[in-house]
Amino acid sequence: MTELSYLDGNMLDGPLRELLTVDLSSTVGRCDHCGTTGPMAGLHVYAHAPGLVGRCPACAGVMVRLVRAPDRAWLDLRGATYLQVPMPTDPAR
């Protein structure tokens, strides 16, 4: 049996570029703390802070953190089990 090889991380560039340009507020997310699933636009965002902190409206668990430095940004989505992103219909799938 042939072991499947892996691809270089560069191959993620295209698929992630397609995904990460979407408007986050149009996505649905699952809270990794309590399992609540709902629109990311429904998060409670605390902006008077050193970064943006998006919390689950049901349990207040942190789902998103975004820190912006002058030349860099950090995105932490550990608190979101997944994001469901609307995509153009692909007839091949």
């Binding site: 605390y46 008077h48 802070a49 050193p50 970064g51 902190v53 919390r55 207040a60 942190v62 953190r65 820190v67 430095a69 860099r72 940004a73 950090w74 932490d76």
Partner: protein, 199 residues
């Protein structure tokens, strides 16, 4: 630049006094928060020091009040670029709380009601440079500023001064806290402008 800043035991100064790089002076006391404000009744409040071996040292509110109290006047420097000079506090020095605690830990992770955490070298909590503060400007510390009690470590950026502090874990290894795992600097010395990782 030395580790000890000129800011942590500051006296009220004339305007134009030296500020850390990139900071501006404010007379307000801006409220920053990464989440809902916890409301902690004093009769259930507690502060817990946990050593690296798991030994716990606990203080109730009444027990904290019976400890020797300090009244530091300090300058505050927030990483969002405002500084406020000559603020007056009352609280218990971490030297007092750590007195008699058997530890060889080098790091501390403060944790708060509401889930916030921040990490510091244990040495930065010693030497009359850190307090569990419960009084601000002669009144009880308001909840929006971290009351009933907050950590006060004014020689570092203010995110290290954990609001609503509930305890400190003493650790052999450094464990980054809430903002430190999202791009902010592990140490956060305002005089060296250590805002973000790599600064």
């Amino acid at each position: 630049m030395g580790i000890v800043s000129p800011g942590f035991q500051g006296r009220p100064r004339a305007s134009g006094a030296a500020l850390p790089p990139g900071q501006y002076l404010t007379d307000d006391f801006p409220v920053l928060s990464a989440g809902p404000t916890p409301r902690v009744p004093l009769d259930t409040w507690e502060f817990v020091l946990t050593t690296e071996t798991g030994t716990e040292h606990r203080w109730s509110w009444d027990e904290l009040m019976r400890l020797p109290q300090d009244t530091p006047t300090v300058d505050l420097h927030c990483v969002t670029r405002w500084s406020k000079l000559g603020t007056t506090w009352q609280g218990v020095s971490l030297d007092t709380l750590l007195d008699g605690v058997d530890t060889s830990a080098r790091y501390a992770l403060a944790h708060s009601y509401g889930g916030y955490t921040t990490n510091l070298p244990l040495d930065d909590l010693r030497g009359g440079r850190a307090w569990v503060a419960h009084t601000y400007d002669d009144g009880p510390l308001p909840a929006e500023h971290g009351g009933p009690a907050r950590l006060l470590v004014p020689h570092l950026y203010l995110w290290k001064s954990a609001k609503w502090v509930r305890g400190i874990r003493l650790l052999a290894d450094d464990r980054p806290g809430f903002w430190e795992t999202a791009g902010y600097h592990d140490y956060g010395d305002p005089w060296r402008e250590q805002r973000y990782q790599g600064d």
